[in-house]
Amino acid sequence: MTEALTRPAPVVTGDRLAGKTAIVTGAARGLGRSCAVAFAAQGADVVLVDLAADLPGVPYPLGSASQLAHTADLCAGYGVAAYPVRADVRDSAAVRAAVALCLDRFGRVDVLVNNAGIAAPSGKPTHEITEAEWQLMLDVDLSGPWRMISAVGEVMCRQRAGSIVNVASTAGLVGYRHFAGYVAAKHGLVGLTRAAALDYAPLKVRVNALCPGSVRDDPHVEGRMLAEIARSLEVPVAEHEETFVQAQPMNALIEPGSVAQAALWLASDESAQVTGAVITVDGGFTAR
C-alpha cells in the first residue's frame, strides 16, 4: 500500500448540485459515503439512509450508526444540511418516512441514489442457495431500490424533475460463478432501471444505472464489499486485491471516487437528457 492511498482522495467542491436535495441509501460507508460526500461538496443537502445495524442472514457486519453519523459530519463540513436516517430498505413504511423527512425539511427531492445492497450470502452454486438466502438477497438488492423508487416517484413526478441513480454492478451485465442471487438481483435492477426510465421519461424524471466493477475497499470510506466477495469466493483476504486486479484491463481496482463522480454527473442537470442508461465504471472489465 503506497503512501498516496493512505490519504483521502481529494473531493472537488462546486455548485453542480446547488439548491438540490439528495437521498442516498447505504450511506454509512463505502460507495454510499463516497457519493454523499461528493454530492455535499457540490452543494446538495443530503438525507443519508442506512440500516446502521447488522442483518440476520448476512454473514458480515453492515454499516453502523457511528459510521452513518460520520458520513453526515463529513457532508455537513461542506456547509450543507445533512440528515442521517436509520431505515431498512425492506420496510416500506420506514422508506416512506425517510422520503417524507426530506420533503418536509427541504420541500423537494431531486436525487435518489439507490446504493444500499448486500453481497452475501453468496459463494455457492445456484442449487445450494436456500429459499431464505434467495429471498433476503432479492429483498435488499432489488426490492429495496423498487421501494425507494415508489416512495420518491410521485414526488419527483409532481416536481417534473428528478434523477434516480441505481447502483447496480457489472454483475447486472454479466454472470459471476457462485453469485446467482446477487447477479440475478443486479440484472433485475438494470431491468428495473430501464422500465422505470420509460415510465417517468415524459415527466422529466430520469432513472439510470451505474455498474461499478471491482471497487477497492478504500479505508477512508470504510469499504469492505470486495473483501466480502473475496471471502465468498474463498480467496485469501490478504491477497484478494492482487487477485482481482489481475482480471482488470486497466490493471487497477475501481476507486469509489470514480463511481461517485459518475453518480454526480447522473444526479446533476449536466445529464439532463440521459435516462434509461446503464453506465459502467469498470475499467473495461465488461468490454471484453
Binding site: 439548491g19 456547509g79 450543507v80 444540511a81 420533503l103 420541500g107 416536481q159
Partner: protein
C-alpha cells in the same frame, strides 16, 4: 418571446420571502419548538415543526444564507422554521409564502417567537397588517391590464440569451425615498425605454399586489390621487389575477426589523426592485434583463428619484434619467471609431490623379469592352468638354439615363468633371417614373440613349443627348484647373420611401470621399481589387460600387442587365472576372447562394458587403462552408440614401450567423448614430427608438423640398452639424453596436396589439425549412378581419408549410401567427433587389363560395363544417384544425355564436381548444346531447 416567466404558474420562489434573527446561545430549542407549534396553531398557519440543526464551526453564515434562499414548494406548507445552532448562538430562519404571511405578519411572528416572556401578551398577528405602507401611506391603484399601449411589444430590452438565472444588483437611493417615489421614478425611466405614456409598474403595497399605470404627464405627487385596493397574492394553486405578475418591473418594500430579510426568493417580476432604507436591491432574471442593462436602469432610476423627491410636482416625463455625463457617454458610444479628416478635393480630382500615375491599370469593363484608367480619364474629359460646349456650368444637374456600359461610367465621371452633379435615371424604369425624375429634378440636360427619346421625353422635356462621340481630346492632358470643391453636389438620387412621391437626395463630393476614406483601410481596398457594379445607377448602392472601386484604384466590372437577372450567369461572371469585392442585397445574395452551392468554379471574392435591406445572417452558414471567414470577409452594412449609402458596418462570422444576429455594427468612422425617443431625447443603450444619423454622411437635403428637408434633416444637438431622422427603429447595444429593428411603419396593429412584422418574419426564418420569408398585413373591414399573411421559400421545394405553421403557433402569441403561409419558388424582387410586396400572389387559402347556409337535414358534421367555412373564409375538411386554418380567438367567438344561433350547441371557447377539428367538435356536441 420566451414565456419563461409565466404568470399562470408562477415559480413558487417568486411568492416566498424569508427572514432570520440571531438568538442567544442559551436559547432553549425545545421551548422555542413548543412556542412555534402554539403560535402557528393559533394563527392557523400550515407549518411543519421547528427544525433544529447543529452547524459546524465557521459555517453559520453559509447555512443561514442557504436557508434564507430555500423556497417553499408549490402545494406545500405556508411556513418553514429552522433553528441553526452554532458556537455564536443560533439563527432562527423563517421562510413564508406571501399569500399566507406578508411582510408585517412575518416580522410580528419573529418578534413573538423570540420574546423572552410567554406569548400571552403577544400581538395579534391579524391586527398588525397595515392597509398601506410607509410614511406616505399611499394606496396605489390596481389597474386592469389592457391590450393597448404597451402590450405585445416584446423584446424591447436585451436579455442574456444564455442560461436564465437570477442575479442581484444593489444601489444606494437618496434618503427619503419611499415606495411612491420609487414607483414614480421607475415609471419615468420605463416610459423612456418602452416609448409609452403610461408604463405599468408592479408594486406590493400593504401586502397587496397592484399594477400602477404611471401617468408620466403628471408628477409623483399626482400618484397620491389614485387609490385602489389591489389584489391579494395568489394562493397556491390559484392563478394570479391577470396581469398582476406579468409586468416587467415591479417594486416592493424590504424594510425589516429582522437581522436578515429576503423580500423574494426569486424575482417577483423579471426585474424586482426591493427598497430597504436607502438601499435598492435589483433582483432580475438574466434572460429578460442582462446585468449591464439592470445596472444602467438602476442608475437612471436613482437619478430620477433625486428629481422626484426635490420636485414632486414636476411631470415625470420632464425628469432626466441620464444626466450630462451619461448622455455624453451614450453619444460617444454611437460615434464611429477613429478620426476622419475632412476631404479637401473631389471625386473626379482623385480619380484623375490615379489615372495620371496608373494610366494602364484596368478601370472599367463591360461585356468585352474595357477601359484603362488613362482611357477612362480621356473619355470623361471629352464628356466634360462636350457638356461645357452645351452650356453645362458648374452646379448644374445632368440627367443620365443610360444602359449599363463602360460609357455609363465615363459619362458619370464626365458630368462630375464638368463641375455638375448627375441625376441617374434607370432606363428600365417605367416611363412615368423617368419623366417624374427628370421633371422634378429640373435637369439642365438629359444624357440618354435612343430608347429614352422615344419614351416621350420630347416636348417640354430637356434635350436628350448622347455624348459618346464627342470631339477627340486635344493634346495630352493639359493642366486643367480643378473644377469644383468637396462641398459641391456630386449626385441627386431619387428614393421612394414608404409614403409620398419620390424625392431627390442631394449628396456632395465630400460625403462620397468620406465614405471611401472611412472604409478603405479597414476593408483593405486597393488596385488589386475587382468590383462589380451590380446595382442600378439609380439605386445608391451603386454609388458605393462605382466610386468605392474607382477611388481606390480598383477594376470595376459593369454587370449587364440580363446577367443581373440571372444568378447563374452572374456567378460565371464573378468567376471569369475574378471579382474580389461583391456587393449584394440579401435577397439577391440568397439567389446567388443557391447557384454557388452547385457551382464547381472557384470564386476569388474576398469581401462581401450587404446593404439595402435587413440581412438574416443565418443564410450565411452555407456560404461559410465554401468560403471560410479567413478567405472571404462578410460585412453587413446598414445605410440610408440620405446618409450616403452606408452608416454602420458589422463584420459577421459563423457564430453571429448561427445566432441570427441583428446587429448592423458600429457607426463608420466619421458617422454618428443616435437612438432617440419621439420627443427627440437620447435613449440609453437597450431602449428601442428611432435611429438618427449624424456626421460625415449626412446629405445636403432633398432637392426642391425645403419643408421635407427641414423635417428630416435636423440640427444635431449632440455633436453639432446636422442629423438625419431615418424612420428606422433600432437600439444601441452597450458595446456601441446598433441593432436594426425594421421600419417604424412596419409596426402594425392587429386586434389592438402592436406587432412587428419583422419579428414574425424572424421567427419563421428561424426554422431551417424556410430560406426566405415575407410577412404582410391585410387590413379588413372589422378588427377580426385584419390578417397576417406569410410567404416563404422552402428549402425543400416539395415541402409543406404545416410544420412551419405549428412552430410559429408554438413560438408566437396567437395574434401574431399568420393566418396563411404560402410557399413560393422565389420572392418577387424590385429592380433594386428588395422585396416587391405588390407582386406577391394572393394567399393560398381558397376563398369560400357564397356563404352557404347549412341545410337543416344535413348531418351534424356537415352543418358544423359549413359554419366553419363561413367564419374562416376557407375550404374546411373534417380533420382540418381550426387554428391551423387561421382561426384566432375572435373568430372562435364568432364561430361559437353561429353554432348557438343555429341551435347546434352552446359552447365556450374551451370546447374549441379541446376539440379543434370539425369532426372532434361534432363528436363532442353529439356526446353532450
Amino acid at each position: 418571446m420566451n414565456a419563461q416567466h409565466s404568470a399562470q404558474h408562477p415559480d413558487p420562489a417568486r411568492l416566498c420571502h424569508a427572514a432570520a434573527v440571531r438568538l442567544a446561545a442559551d436559547a432553549d430549542p425545545d421551548r422555542l419548538a413548543d412556542r412555534f407549534a402554539a403560535v402557528t396553531r393559533r394563527h392557523r398557519l400550515a407549518a411543519g415543526r421547528l427544525w433544529v440543526e447543529r452547524v459546524l464551526a465557521g459555517l453559520a453564515a453559509t447555512r443561514r444564507d442557504a436557508e434564507l434562499a430555500r423556497p417553499l414548494p408549490a402545494g406545500g406548507p405556508d411556513l418553514r422554521a429552522v433553528l441553526l445552532r452554532h458556537d455564536d448562538g443560533a439563527d432562527l430562519v423563517l421562510v413564508a409564502r406571501r399569500p399566507a404571511l406578508g411582510r408585517h405578519r412575518l416580522g410580528a411572528l419573529l418578534t413573538e417567537l423570540t420574546q423572552l416572556t410567554e406569548p400571552t401578551i403577544a400581538v395579534e398577528l391579524s391586527a398588525v397588517e397595515p392597509s398601506a405602507v410607509g410614511p406616505s401611506a399611499v394606496e396605489l391603484s390596481a389597474v386592469e391590464p389592457s391590450a393597448g399601449d404597451d402590450a405585445g411589444d416584446a423584446g424591447w430590452l436585451r436579455g442574456d440569451p444564455g442560461v436564465d438565472r437570477t442575479a442581484v444588483h444593489a444601489v444606494a437611493v437618496p434618503a427619503g425615498t419611499d415606495l411612491t417615489a420609487l414607483v414614480a421614478a421607475v415609471g419615468a425611466v420605463l416610459a423612456r425605454y418602452r416609448g409609452v405614456r403610461r408604463p405599468r409598474v408592479g408594486a406590493v403595497v400593504g401586502e397587496r399586489l397592484t399594477v400602477v399605470a404611471v401617468p408620466v404627464d403628471g408628477g409623483a405627487r399626482d400618484l397620491l390621487a389614485t387609490a385602489g385596493p389591489g389584489s391579494p397574492w395568489p394562493a397556491p394553486g390559484i392563478q394570479a389575477p391577470a396581469g398582476l405578475l406579468d409586468v416587467e418591473v415591479g417594486v416592493l418594500d424590504a424594510d425589516s426589523t429582522a437581522d436578515a430579510y429576503r423580500p423574494c426568493l426569486a424575482p417577483v417580476w423579471p426585474l424586482t426592485l426591493a427598497l430597504a432604507g436607502t438601499t435598492l436591491a435589483c433582483h432580475h432574471r438574466t434572460a429578460a434583463w442582462a446585468a449591464d442593462l439592470v445596472e444602467a436602469f438602476a442608475r437612471q432610476v436613482v437619478r430620477v428619484l433625486g428629481q422626484v423627491l426635490a420636485e414632486p410636482d414636476r411631470p415625470l416625463d420632464d425628469c432626466d434619467p441620464l444626466g450630462d455625463a451619461e448622455r455624453a457617454a451614450i453619444v460617444a458610444l454611437g460615434r464611429g471609431p477613429g478620426e476622419l479628416p475632412a476631404a479637401k478635393d473631389t471625386i473626379h480630382d482623385r480619380i484623375a490623379r490615379h489615372a495620371a500615375t496608373h494610366p494602364d491599370a484596368p478601370a472599367v469593363s463591360c461585356a468585352g469592352e474595357r477601359l484603362t484608367y488613362g482611357e477612362l480619364d480621356d473619355r470623361a474629359r471629352r464628356v466634360a468638354r462636350g457638356l461645357a460646349a452645351r452650356g453645362i456650368a458648374p452646379g448644374d444637374l445632368v440627367g443620365v439615363c443610360l444602359d449599363r456600359s463602360v460609357d455609363l461610367i465615363a459619362v458619370l465621371l464626365g458630368v462630375l468633371r464638368a463641375g455638375a452633379a448627375y441625376v441617374p435615371v434607370d432606363p428600365a424604369y417605367p416611363v412615368d417614373r423617368v419623366r417624374y425624375t427628370v421633371e422634378d429634378s429640373g435637369v439642365a440636360l438629359l444624357i440618354g440613349a435612343g430608347g429614352v427619346d422615344a419614351a416621350g421625353l420630347t416636348g417640354d422635356g430637356p434635350p436628350a443627348d448622347r455624348l459618346g462621340d464627342g470631339p477627340p481630346a486635344e493634346g495630352s492632358r493639359p493642366a486643367q484647373p480643378p473644377v469644383g470643391g468637396p462641398d459641391d453636389p456630386a449626385y441627386v438620387i431619387y428614393t421612394s420611401g414608404s409614403t409620398g412621391r419620390p424625392k431627390g437626395v442631394r449628396v456632395p463630393h465630400r460625403n462620397v470621399l468620406a465614405l471611401v476614406d472611412a472604409t478603405a483601410a479597414d476593408f483593405g481596398l486597393g488596385q488589386h481589387d475587382t468590383w462589380t457594379m451590380f446595382h442600378s445607377s439609380a439605386f445608391d448602392f451603386s454609388v458605393w460600387e462605382i466610386w468605392g472601386c474607382l477611388l481606390t484604384g480598383g477594376h470595376l466590372v459593369v454587370v449587364p442587365h440580363l446577367v443581373v437577372r440571372s444568378p447563374g450567369e452572374f456567378h460565371d461572371l464573378l468567376a471569369a472576372e475574378r471579382v474580389t469585392v461583391l456587393n449584394q442585397t440579401p435577397s439577391a445574395f440568397a439567389q446567388l447562394l443557391d447557384v454557388d452551392r452547385r457551382a464547381a468554379v472557384p470564386l476569388a471574392v474576398r469581401l462581401v458587403v450587404f446593404g439595402g435591406e435587413p440581412l438574416d445572417a443565418r443564410m450565411l452558414t452555407g456560404w461559410y462552408d465554401r468560403h471560410p471567414e479567413t478567405d472571404c470577409r462578410v460585412v453587413n452594412m446598414f445605410g440610408i440614401t440620405e446618409t450616403t449609402v452606408h452608416v454602420t458596418a458589422q463584420t459577421l462570422d459563423r457564430g453571429l450567423a448561427l445566432a441570427g444576429s441583428r446587429s448592423v455594427g458600429r457607426a463608420l468612422p466619421g458617422w454618428r448614430v443616435y437612438v432617440l425617443d419621439p420627443a427627440g431625447r437620447l435613449l440609453p443603450p437597450g431602449a428601442a427608438g428611432e435611429i438618427h444619423v449624424g456626421g460625415a454622411g449626412v446629405a445636403d437635403g432633398y432637392l426642391h423640398r425645403p419643408e421635407l428637408t427641414a423635417e428630416r434633416f435636423r440640427p444635431d444637438p449632440f455633436s453639432g452639424g446636422r442629423m438625419y431622422r431615418s424612420g428606422d427603429r433600432g437600439r444601441l447595444l452597450p458595446d456601441g453596436r446598433l441593432e436594426h429593428l425594421g421600419r417604424l411603419d412596419n409596426q402594425v396593429k392587429v386586434r389592438g396589439y402592436r406587432i412587428e412584422l419583422d419579428e414574425i418574419r424572424q421567427v419563421l426564418l428561424d426554422d431551417p425549412a424556410a430560406l426566405a420569408v415575407a410577412v404582410v398585413v391585410e387590413t379588413g373591414a372589422e378588427a377580426a378581419d385584419t390578417r397576417l399573411h406569410a410567404y416563404v421559400v422552402l428549402a425543400d421545394a416539395a415541402g409543406s408549410v404545416a410544420e412551419l405553421r405549428r412552430r410559429a403557433a408554438r413560438l408566437l402569441p396567437d395574434y401574431m401567427v399568420p393566418a396563411t403561409i404560402t410557399a413560393l419558388p422565389a420572392l418577387p424582387l424590385t429592380a433594386n433587389g428588395k422585396l416587391d410586396a405588390a407582386r406577391l400572389p394572393a394567399p393560398a387559402i381558397p376563398a369560400a363560395d357564397q356563404a352557404p347556409t347549412p341545410a337543416d337535414d344535413a348531418g351534424l358534421d356537415e352543418r358544423i363544417r359549413v359554419i366553419w367555412q363561413r367564419v374562416l373564409g376557407a375550404e374546411v375538411g373534417p380533420e382540418d384544425n381550426f387554428f391551423d386554418l387561421g382561426g384566432n380567438s375572435l373568430l372562435a367567438l364568432r364561430l361559437l355564436n353561429e353554432l348557438r344561433d343555429q341551435g347546434l350547441a352552446d359552447l365556450t371557447p374551451r370546447h374549441l381548444y379541446l376539440h379543434q377539428t370539425v369532426r372532434g367538435l361534432a363528436e363532442a356536441i353529439g356526446a353532450a346531447r
